[in-house]
Amino acid sequence: MAEMKRAYVRPLDLKQGRVDLTHGSGGRSMVQLISELFAKHLGNEYLGQGNDGAVLPAPTIHGHAGRLVMSTDCHVVSPLFFPGGDIGCLSVHGTVNDVAVMGATPLYLAAGFILEEGFPLSDLARIVESMARAAREAGVPVVTGDTKVVERGKGDGVFITTTGVGVLPDGLELGGSRARPGDAIIISGSLGDHGVAIMSKRENLSFDAPIESDTAALNGLIAAMLATGADLRCLRDPTRGGLAATLNEIAGQSGVGMMLHEKAIPVKPVVAAACEFLGLDPLYVANEGKLIAICASADAERVLAVMRAHPLGREAALIGEVIADDHHFVQLTTAFGGRRIVDWLAGDQLPRIC
């Protein structure tokens, strides 16, 4: 009996092809998309198990069993590609950072893709490659995932949800409720780069600003900070809502106030200029590769020194201190010499008229 000829399967057309509904229907096309794109770039021993879930070794840290930290983040950025990054690397960085700021070592990621019918496969390939690169650099593999396709017009190209798991050593407690009056407030670098880079490419608003998103995985920087043994109370990455939202959140959780010093807050001149003519305040603009550290004031210099020695913390700065305040206000001494509140943002930041 002649051997059955293996059916010829036309490879995915990653140059001209587009996502269609069959890529999400559970048939061969879907398997092909997964194997030729996702598994090819993101593949590792766990993803390669090919089951509905990944079987992972019990996490340990420094040879001991640790506690698990888990976080999830949905990414719906527009435009999908922006100066300094894209939705792919962003979806890795965002979740790695959310796990790392808890003090945990990020171990694994899961990724869910919602694709819109008609989306170019070439763009999807760029996104997946960028994701794979970011995961490699952060040292956190994608071990399981899911893909769905929605009809044209019912999605915005690509949405990516990532979930991360990490392990936290016993004894380490970081959290938003741990800030105490007298603590130092430190920022790892300049504010607003990501938000302004994105805005500079929005369809109705494109302007040429030589500014790149700061999207980056912060687990390396955080590991170096933790290794100092400094008395760190809380780490957060000031993404949506920027520095203002994050500090208001911590002030509320800890039941304290904060006093910031405008002169000490690093903002790149080009970001300040873009915010100026858009009528925005950089304190409210999103970051994707920055962290806020609140630590005992006695340890502030030590933490700053370690941060500044790391490529992602070169411009780290002490920007203020935690104070006692029953109203939990975040306040700012302006460079002009006055004082004001840095309040929660109400809705989106909308440009003023004149």
């Binding site: 109705n204 200029a273 002009f336 010499g337 006055g338 004001r340 109400a346």
Partner: protein
């Protein structure tokens, strides 16, 4: 930032504050109205009042384009988006202004209205070019600063034959609003609102010049100092006002000479005069109906007038009855005097228009200054 940081210098601010402190006469109170929301914003954002002597009080005026927009006008825009199927283009600040039935443009958008935020009238024109089968309406609001761009857009649409573009004109005039305040019984008869002078608008004055204010200075014996929107501009203007009051002068002085001339921008004025004419009356939030205080599109450009094209009728809608925006816009009350302030009316859920834009007196005080009420 070159040409900006120089006007926000903390050291210079200290010197100016010392000069103001040395110039005010002991035992005398000074009360100045900054007409513009831009000044209100600068005063709050830079914490400027912390640098002033306690005898100098700043009264916030009605010059916030979003704040003076009456509910009925926002209703018209929402009607266009929801019931006439148009693409409604609007400046961002306008999206959250509360309208009738608990709606705002933002909420109308969530109900399916095609409402798009634009940064300039040119964006609205582009949307009209890109969507030839749709009606595109630009929600034209603001004082003299934003009027010339609307005029240019209408002229451009005519030149291109863009038949699907029109504007819902709600442009208002600064001088009429200032007269209205000066004529109000609180200022003129009862003297419950002491006003010793005005900080004149920055951007508005680049268009209309300083000449239109000469009438107020002379007729009402109130000094006017036109000032830029940077905090040092405001400080310098306050010093100039204090000097005028001390010396019994009531003149128009121009602190913002780097951008404002006596005659203003004649080209822009011509352009506005070509496209617009005076409206007989216009309802303002807070000032109610003010005669000859706004513009409408001339008959010649009627095809680009959304009010005519869609046969819209203005219906006056009263403000929430506990809302003090009206009195706040006239300087009669301070934001914290309003019962709703900071309780049911917050920037997240504005009841009155002064809580919407960060140029509004209530939003500025809530977002930047309310710690002062607590301590």
């Amino acid at each position: 930032m070159k040409y900006i940081d120089e006007f926000r210098d903390g050291e210079l601010a200290k010197n100016l504050a010392a000069s103001i402190g040395a110039t005010v006469e002991p035992g005398r109170n000074y009360s100045f109205m900054e007409f513009c929301g831009g000044h209100t914003h600068a005063i709050s954002r830079y914490g400027l009042s912390d640098l002033l002597p306690p005898t100098v009080r700043m009264v916030h005026g009605p010059g916030c384009p979003v704040c003076v927009l009456p509910i009925g006008r926002v209703d018209m825009a929402i009607d266009l988006a929801l019931n006439h199927g148009v693409i409604l283009c609007t400046y961002g600040d306008t999206l959250r202004v509360p309208a009738s039935d608990g709606l705002s443009l933002m909420k109308a958008k969530a109900r399916g209205g095609d409402i798009r935020m634009v940064y300039s009238t040119l964006d609205a024109l582009q949307i009209a070019r890109d969507n030839p089968a749709r009606e595109v309406v630009f929600f034209a609001i603001g004082f003299e600063t934003t009027t010339p761009p609307t005029a240019v857009a209408i002229q451009q649409a005519e030149a291109e034959g863009l038949a699907n573009f029109s504007a819902l004109c709600c442009h208002v005039l600064t001088p009429s609003a200032i007269s209205n305040i000066l004529e109000s019984p609180e200022v003129r008869q009862w003297g419950t609102v002491p006003l010793d002078g005005f900080i004149g608008p920055a951007h508005v004055s680049t268009v209309i010049g300083s000449r239109p204010y000469e009438f107020f200075a002379e007729e009402y014996r109130k000094p006017v100092v036109i000032a830029g929107f940077e905090p040092l501009d405001v400080m310098q203007a306050i010093l100039m006002l204090v000097r005028q009051v001390n010396e019994g002068r009531a003149e128009v002085e121009n602190e913002f000479s780097r951008a404002v001339s006596r005659d203003g921008n004649l080209k822009a004025q011509d352009c506005v005069a070509e496209v617009f004419e005076l409206r007989r009356e216009f309802e303002w939030r807070g000032l109610s109906v003010v005669p000859y205080s706004a513009l409408k599109i001339r008959q010649k450009y009627a095809a680009f007038d959304a009010e005519r094209r869609f046969d819209l009728e203005y219906r006056s809608v009263p403000d929430h009855n506990a809302c003090d925006c009206g009195a706040i816009l006239r300087g009669v009350k301070k934001p914290q005097d309003c019962k709703l302030f900071g309780t049911v009316c917050t920037p997240e859920n504005p009841i009155g228009s002064c809580m919407v834009s960060s140029e509004g007196a209530c939003a500025a005080h809530y977002s930047y200054g309310r710690y002062k009420d607590m301590h």
